[in-house]
Symmetry: C2
Subunit: 225 residues, 2 copies
């Protein structure tokens, strides 16, 4: 398992620079610069979470996931291992990325564009809440694994440290709004707040949402109540 | 050429019913019901517009497009004919729908999700403004047609009759905002206004935008200045 150091997200650098510049100039910080943490907005492309048992069924007895790239949330990573997802009409998506570490449920997160292309009818669900959702078949180099349920579109959400929740005056389960600028800007409603002392401030949207507004690292984003 | 009568869009029926009900009850019409025309929001899936010469190159000498389904805008139709689009990495999209009637330019409209899947780097453009945009290859049953340029993502826009423009107090080139409700609602900025006496009030968004908010026929939509 090799840890690859990621470059910091542009939003992180900008936040630090903004704070230092205003301090040097002896000026009052604007609202966004006063936030305890930078606002990082990332697009979650299609991926899956697996149990250790599913990893073994797909990649062989005793196999564990290897780190391809560390994600912004502490301890989370994109694995080197990928899968093929087989949809209800035998259409496939290959190179479906696995995110680690292993969880206690199996879950595939697709965009609606992915789901339509594959012929899946998937519900919008909070990650982890997979009861009664779509089934599917995963194929790995060493075997198949049938998901009885777990194929969903993940609800847009924001990870927050309690300090972020205090700054934005929200709590776990609150809904916020994310304004995204640019040539095809938009505002996403019902951005669900998730709070945990282990979380770093980060919005997760899917590829449909990211492509609708052409989200780039330098696209201005604002999180509002 | 056979004309297939489409069922009216749900928004059209609702608008008429709303007007009649308020009149019967002798109540003042709410703002939305006072609009001269219903607000129809449609998703434009990937498609292309072709010149008569391109149609002949692809489908054979003397071939003209046949109507598969009439669209909401008067005289516009989805053709029975479809094409294969070949991207820069030899990846293809098959069954690319042609919209008729023929135009004086060739233009392929894709979502960013489509473009990424095919390996195209496409710009966001107003339909018809294709100078310097991406090139591509079209394949039909009778031949190939090389597009030197014309592969774009079309800017979100709203077609309006002058009466609609007067009601919303906008003009050609204005930018509006479209609020879309539901479980994953959003508001699309920079909705470009196009005005013509031949237009019916209709918003066109692409599949990324439509899937981002899961637009359905009964999803509430509001067009605001």
């Amino acid at each position: 398992m090799v840890a690859i150091a990621n470059n910091p997200h542009r939003a992180v650098i900008e936040h630090r620079v903004r704070q230092v510049v205003y301090q040097r100039l002896g000026k009052t910080l604007p609202q966004t610069a006063m936030a305890p943490n930078p606002l990082v907005v990332n697009v979650s492309a299609r991926h899956c979470h697996l149990t250790a048992a599913a990893v073994e069924a797909l990649f062989g007895k005793g196999h564990t996931l290897t780190v391809h790239k560390w994600l912004y949330q502490e301890g989370q990573f994109a694995a080197k291992e990928t899968l093929t997802l087989i949809g209800p009409r035998s259409r496939v998506i290959s190179n479906l990325r696995i995110l680690g570490p292993c969880r206690d449920i199996n879950q595939v997160e697709l965009s609606y564009s992915d789901a339509i292309a594959l012929g899946f009818d998937i519900p919008l669900r909070l990650s982890g809440n997979i009861q009664g959702t779509a089934s599917g078949m995963l194929m790995g180099p060493e075997g198949f694994f049938e998901l009885q349920e777990g194929v969903i579109r993940a609800m847009r959400h924001v990870h927050m440290h309690p300090a972020d929740a205090a700054f934005y005056e929200v709590k776990a389960g609150s809904e916020m709004r994310l304004k995204i600028g640019g040539d095809c800007g938009l505002a996403l409603d019902k951005m669900l707040v998730r709070v945990d002392p282990g979380f770093k401030l980060e919005v997760h949207i899917d590829t449909d949402e990211g492509n609708a507004c052409n989200l780039q690292p330098d696209t201005p984003c604002e999180l509002i109540r």
